[in-house]
C-alpha cells in the first residue's frame, strides 16, 4: 500500500483521485472489517462528499492540502457532526453530535477523507479494545491477538491497510501501545499541541490526540495538520503548528540520548534486545548514549490510576440519561440516573468511576488524589532534571509483543502494567512516540519508545526516522 504522502501527491497531480482512493480504502475495509472489527461506523456518504470536494478543488487547480484525498480513520471518541459517536459505550449508542472536533475540521481542511469511526476500549479505558461494549478488535497481524488499546481500532485500520493514516488519543499510552503491538509509528504529542476540543474526555489533564501511520514521514505529515493553537481549548499551546516534516532528516548526530532503566526493566528479553539494538543504531548515527535511572517513574502507574479515574469520575458524570444517549426510566430522577448508568457503562468504566470517586472523597482526598498530584509534580521535576543532561530518552513502549485475547482481562493489574512504560509521559505532559524496531515472538513487531521534553516532536521524529531506515523500512 502506498503512503499517505504518495497518495496526496497522486491525487494532486491527477494520477489518482480522492474518490478512487476512497473506493480502494472502502474495498479494504469491506474485505476484513467483519473479521477484525475495526470500524464501529463507516461514513460512506460523508466520506464520498469529502472526497468529491477534494477532487473539485484539484480540478479547479487549487491546492487541496497536504493530505489531499487521503482516507483516514477516526477513533470513535472524537465528535464528528452528524456521525454516530459512541466511545464504544452503550451509554452513547445512537448519539450523533451536532458539532465536530477541531481535529476533524483540520483534517477536512487539509484534504483528508474521514472514512469512519474506529473501535476502542469503552471511553478509552483499557489496553486491548477488549473493553469495547461492541466487541473487541483483532490484531490484523495475528487475529488471535489483541491490537492493543485503547486506540486499537485506529491502529488496526492502518495495520490492515484499510487507511494509510488514523487518529487516536493517548491518555496513558493508548496510541503508543497499540502502535507497538501493530507495527506502526504512533505519536503522543506534547500536552496542548493538538486541540482536545471535541475529544470526549477520559482524563482531561492527560488526554492528547495523535497520529498513527506506517511511516515516520506520514506520521509527521499528519501531526503537522493536527497541531496548532485552538482558541476553543484553553489548554492549547499558544504556538502555531511546528515544522516537523522539514526536520525529518536532521538525524541524531551530536544528540545525547539517555536509556532509562525504569523504561526497560520488566520487559521481555526480546523487547530489551530491540531497545539495545536501537541504541547501537543511534550511536552509529552519531548520538551519544547515556545510561540513567529515573526512580520516580516507578510511581507513575499508581499516580496515574488515581488521577485518571478521578478526572474520569467527573468527566463521565454527564452521562446521566437526561439529555442524550441511553435513558433507562425509573420512578424519579436519581433512580433514572442510576438505572441509566448501571445499564450503560461497562465493568471497567464502572471500576474507574468508583475508584476516582473514592480518591476525591472528603477524608480520602489527601491520602489518594492529593498524594498522586505530588507524585506527578515529582515526575515532572525528575524528567526536567534528566533533560538537563540528555536531549531525548529511549526505552521500551510495551513489556511484550501483542498478547492473546483474554490473557489479561481477568486481572486488571496485569492489564494496567502493559502501560507502565508509557504512562510517565502523560503525567509529565511531554512528548513521546513508538516506532517499530525489529520483531519478537511469532514475528510480531516490537515498538521502541522515544521520549522528549515538551515540544520535542521534531527531534523525536528525526530520531525515529533513523531507526526506521536502519530497520529496513521505507
Amino acid at each position: 500500500m502506498r503512503t499517505a504522502v504518495q497518495i496526496a501527491s497522486d491525487v494532486k497531480s491527477g494520477a489518482s483521485s480522492a474518490i478512487r482512493e476512497l473506493s480502494l480504502s472502502l474495498d479494504a475495509v469491506r474485505a476484513r472489517n467483519e473479521e477484525l472489527h475495526v470500524f464501529l461506523y463507516i461514513d460512506q456518504e460523508g466520506a464520498r462528499e469529502a472526497a468529491a470536494r477534494v477532487d473539485a478543488v484539484v480540478a479547479k487547480g487549487d491546492d487541496a492540502g497536504p493530505l489531499a484525498g487521503v482516507p483516514i480513520a477516526i477513533k470513535d471518541n472524537m465528535c464528528q457532526r452528524g456521525v454516530p459517536t459512541t466511545c464504544a459505550s452503550k451509554i452513547l449508542e445512537g448519539w450523533r453530535p451536532p458539532y465536530s472536533a477541531t481535529v476533524i475540521d483540520r483534517l477536512l481542511a487539509a484534504g483528508a477523507v474521514p472514512v469512519g469511526k474506529t473501535n476502542l476500549d469503552e471511553f478509552a479505558m483499557g489496553s486491548s479494545t477488549e473493553n469495547s461494549a461492541f466487541g473487541p478488535t483483532r490484531n490484523p497481524l495475528d487475529p488471535s491477538r489483541v491490537p492493543g488499546g485503547s486506540s486499537g481500532g485506529s491502529a488496526a485500520a492502518v495495520a490492515a491497510d484499510m487507511t494509510p493514516l488514523s487518529v487516536g488519543s493517548d491518555t496513558g499510552g493508548s496510541i503508543r501501545q497499540p502502535a507497538a503491538l501493530c507495527g506502526l509509528v504512533g505519536v503522543k504529542p506534547t500536552y496542548g499541541l493538538v486541540s482536545r476540543y471535541g475529544l470526549i474526555a477520559f482524563a482531561s489533564s492527560l488526554d492528547q490526540i495523535g497520529p498513527f501511520a506506517k511511516t515516520v514521514t506520514d506520521a509527521a505529515t499528519l501531526l503537522e495538520v493536527l497541531a496548532g493553537h485552538d482558541p476553543l481549548d484553553s489548554t492549547s499551546l499558544p504556538e502555531p503548528s511546528p515544522s516537523l516534516v522539514a526536520h525529518l532528516d536532521d538525524g541524531v548526530s551530536g544528540k545525547r540520548i539517555g536509556v532509562v532503566a525504569e523504561l526497560i526493566d520488566g520487559a521481555d528479553d526480546e523487547v530489551v534486545g530491540a531497545v539495545h539494538r536501537a541504541m547501537d543504531v543511534l550511536r552509529e548515527a552519531g548520538a551519544s548514549i547515556v545510561e540513567l535511572s529515573i526512580p520516580e517513574l516507578r510511581l507513575g502507574l499508581s499516580a496515574y490510576y488515581l488521577i485518571a479515574p478521578a478526572e474520569a469520575s467527573s468527566n463521565l458524570a454527564r452521562f446521566d440519561g437526561v439529555r442524550y444517549g441511553l435513558r433507562v426510566n425509573a420512578d424519579d430522577v436519581a433512580a433514572m440516573n442510576e438505572a441509566t448508568r448501571t445499564a450503560g457503562f461497562g465493568a471497567e468504566v464502572k471500576r474507574r468511576i468508583m475508584l476516582g470517586t473514592y480518591a476525591l472523597s472528603a477524608g480520602y482526598y489527601d491520602a489518594y488524589y492529593g498524594q498522586a498530584l505530588k507524585v506527578r509534580t515529582q515526575m515532572i521535576e525528575a524528567f526536567a532534571r534528566a533533560y538537563r543532561d540528555v536531549d531525548l530518552l529511549i526505552g521500551a513502549t510495551t513489556p511484550t509483543v501483542a498478547f492473546a485475547f483474554g490473557e489479561k482481562t481477568s486481572n486488571p493489574m496485569a492489564m494496567y502494567l502493559s502501560d507502565v512504560f508509557t504512562i510517565p509521559t502523560n503525567l509529565a505532559g511531554e512528548a513521546a512516540l513508538s516506532v517499530p524496531f525489529g520483531t519478537g515472538e511469532a514475528g510480531l513487531p516490537i515498538g521502541v519508545q522515544l521520549l522528549g521534553p515538551g515540544r520535542s516532536e521534531a527531534q523525536l521524529l528525526a530520531a525515529a526516522r533513523v531507526l526506521e531506515l536502519a530497520d529496513g523500512r521505507s
Partner: protein, 475 residues
C-alpha cells in the same frame, strides 16, 4: 427588631449576582433574560461530550471591579469542579472557585457607618432552570420536569460576607448597598425579581459576646423584604427553640413568602461531598497589575461617595433629606438632580421630587429628560405651578413623556402663569373695591380673602404665595 431576653442575632450573607456580560461565562452564547427556552445554547453550555470551556474575559473584569469596589485583594486564583448530580446542571458538575478565589477579603461600609467584612467574592457559572409540573412544584413528586438551559453557564459572582451582621435591618442595608455597588460597577442590573441577584442568609443567635451558635442557612431570598422577614422569623424561631430547652440543628431552610416562615430543606449532617478538584480544562487565573489597574481606572464612583457628594450640596441636611439622598443614589437619579440644580432648581426641591415622584415611577424614568425635570422644577419655583400641579406634571411626563409647558397648558394650568394670575387678581380688585381699600390701608388679613377668591375661581389650582405676591405688587 430586637430579640427578646438579651439574645443577639449573627448573620452572614452570600449574595449571588449574575454578571451583565454579552455572552456566557465559557462560551459565545448570548447572556439574556427571558428568551424562549433553550434558544441560547451550544455544545459548551449544554455540556455536550467533548466540549471545553473558555473563560470570558469580561466576566473576569466584572469580578475584579466588584472586588476592587469591596476593597478586596485580587489574588491568583484557580477554578474547581463542584461535583453533584442535578438535571439542570448539564455537566453534573459546576465550575466554581474553591480554595483560591479571585477576590480575597475586603469590607463594605453601610450608610449608618457600620462596617461588614467581606470574606471572598468568587466567579462561578449558573445552572439551567428547572420547572416542575404537578405535585408540589418541587422536583420530588413532580409528574414531569422541564429544563431550560438558557441560564446554564451564565457568569455569576458570589460575594460572601463575614458573620458581622447583627440585625435584619442591617442585613437589608448591606444587601441594598451591595446592590448599589453591583449596579455602579456595571456588573449587574441588580434585578432581584428576575433572579439576577439572589441571597442566602446564614442566621444564628447567641447571648452578647458568647461564642457563635449553630447556624441555619436560608436559601434563595429574592427580595429585600423577604430577606428582612426571613431573618427575623428565623432568629425568633431559634430563640423559641433555645428558650424551650431545645437545640438548633444545622440545616438548610426554605423561606415561604406566603406563609411567612422558614422550613427544613435538608439537614447539613448529610451534607453533600462535592469532591472538589482543580478544573483541568481551564488554566489558572492571575490578573496582572496592569490589568487590575486598568479595571480600577475604569471604576465609576460608588454609592457612598455619590451620597456624600450630593449631601454636600445641602447646607444643614435633616435626616429626612439624607434619607431622600439615599433613595436618589440608590435609584441612580443623582444626575437628573445635579443637572436640575445646575439649571437653577433648588437642591432640596430637586432631591425631594426625585426621591418621591420620580422614585414612584422609576420603571418609566427613561420617559423623563433632564430638561423636562429642570423646567418643571423651575415652573414650580416661579409659582407658575403649585406643588400639587408640579407633581401632576411630573407624573404625566413619567407616564407619557412630552413637554412640561404643554402639559401644564393641556391641564388647564396655563392661566395660572404669572400673566393670567395678574389678570384674575386685577378683576377681583375691581369687583371688591372696599376689601382692596382696607388691604391697601394695611389690613393684612384681607390678603387671605383675595387668595380665597382666586382659589375659588381657579378651582384651587393657584399658588397662594404667587397671589400674595401679585397683591403686594399692586398695593
Amino acid at each position: 427588631m430586637t430579640l427578646p431576653n438579651g439574645w443577639q442575632m449573627v448573620v452572614g450573607l452570600e449574595v449571588h449576582t449574575e454578571l451583565k456580560t454579552a455572552s456566557k461565562m465559557f462560551c459565545g452564547c448570548a447572556n439574556v433574560f427571558g428568551a424562549q427556552p433553550n434558544t441560547n445554547i451550544c455544545p459548551v453550555c449544554l455540556g455536550l461530550p467533548g466540549s471545553l470551556p473558555v473563560l470570558n474575559e469580561r466576566a473576569v473584569e466584572f469580578a475584579m471591579a466588584i472586588g476592587l469596589a469591596l476593597h478586596s485583594n485580587i489574588a491568583p486564583s484557580t477554578f474547581h469542579r463542584k461535583n453533584y448530580f442535578y438535571p439542570d446542571m448539564p455537566k453534573d458538575f459546576q465550575i466554581s472557585q474553591h480554595d483560591l478565589p479571585i477576590n480575597v477579603g475586603g469590607y463594605l461600609d453601610l450608610p449608618d457607618a457600620s462596617r461588614v467584612s467581606i470574606e471572598r467574592a468568587h466567579l462561578e457559572e449558573d445552572t439551567g432552570k428547572s420547572t416542575h409540573l404537578g405535585g408540589t412544584g418541587r422536583l420530588k413528586g413532580a409528574d414531569r420536569s422541564l429544563v431550560d438551559y438558557n441560564r446554564s453557564g451564565v457568569p455569576l459572582v458570589e460575594i460572601v460576607s463575614g458573620p458581622d451582621i447583627r440585625s435584619s435591618a442591617q442585613a437589608r442595608a448591606y444587601a441594598q448597598e451591595l446592590r448599589g455597588i453591583l449596579i455602579a460597577t456595571g456588573a449587574s442590573d441588580g434585578r432581584m425579581e428576575e433572579g439576577s441577584m439572589r441571597i442566602d442568609a446564614n442566621v444564628s443567635i447567641r447571648k452578647a459576646n458568647a461564642p457563635f451558635g449553630t447556624r441555619c442557612e436560608i436559601k434563595n431570598l429574592n427580595s429585600l423584604r423577604s430577606l428582612q422577614r426571613a431573618i427575623d422569623y428565623e432568629a425568633l424561631r431559634q430563640v423559641g427553640l433555645l428558650e424551650g430547652g431545645g437545640t438548633v440543628r444545622q440545616e438548610t431552610r426554605h423561606w415561604d413568602e406566603n406563609l411567612g416562615e422558614t422550613s427544613t430543606m435538608r439537614i447539613k449532617e448529610d451534607a453533600d461531598d462535592y469532591r472538589y478538584f482543580r478544573e483541568p480544562d481551564l488554566v489558572d487565573l492571575a490578573p496582572d497589575q496592569t490589568w487590575q489597574e486598568r479595571v480600577r481606572a475604569g471604576l465609576p464612583p460608588m454609592p457612598a461617595e455619590r451620597r456624600q457628594k450630593l449631601s454636600a450640596r445641602l447646607s444643614h441636611p435633616t435626616s429626612a433629606q439624607l434619607d431622600a439622598v439615599e433613595v436618589v443614589i440608590d435609584l441612580g437619579l443623582e444626575e437628573l438632580v445635579e443637572r436640575a440644580v445646575d439649571g437653577g432648581a433648588e437642591v432640596t426641591l430637586a432631591i425631594s421630587r426625585a426621591a418621591n415622584e420620580l422614585a414612584a415611577s422609576i420603571d418609566n424614568i427613561s420617559n423623563l429628560s433632564s430638561e423636562s425635570f429642570t423646567a418643571t422644577l423651575l415652573m414650580e419655583q416661579r409659582g407658575e405651578l403649585s406643588a400639587t400641579q408640579a407633581k401632576t406634571v411630573l407624573c404625566e411626563l413619567l407616564a407619557l413623556g412630552g413637554d412640561p409647558q404643554a402639559i401644564a397648558v393641556a391641564m388647564g394650568y396655563e392661566q395660572l402663569s404669572s400673566g393670567s394670575l395678574g389678570a384674575t387678581v386685577a378683576t377681583l380688585i375691581e369687583q371688591h373695591p372696599d376689601e382692596w381699600a382696607r388691604f391697601c390701608e394695611g389690613d393684612e388679613k384681607l390678603a387671605q380673602f383675595f387668595v380665597g377668591q382666586v382659589m375659588r375661581l381657579t378651582n384651587g389650582q393657584a399658588n397662594g404665595k404667587s397671589v400674595i405676591a401679585e397683591l403686594q405688587a399692586r398695593r
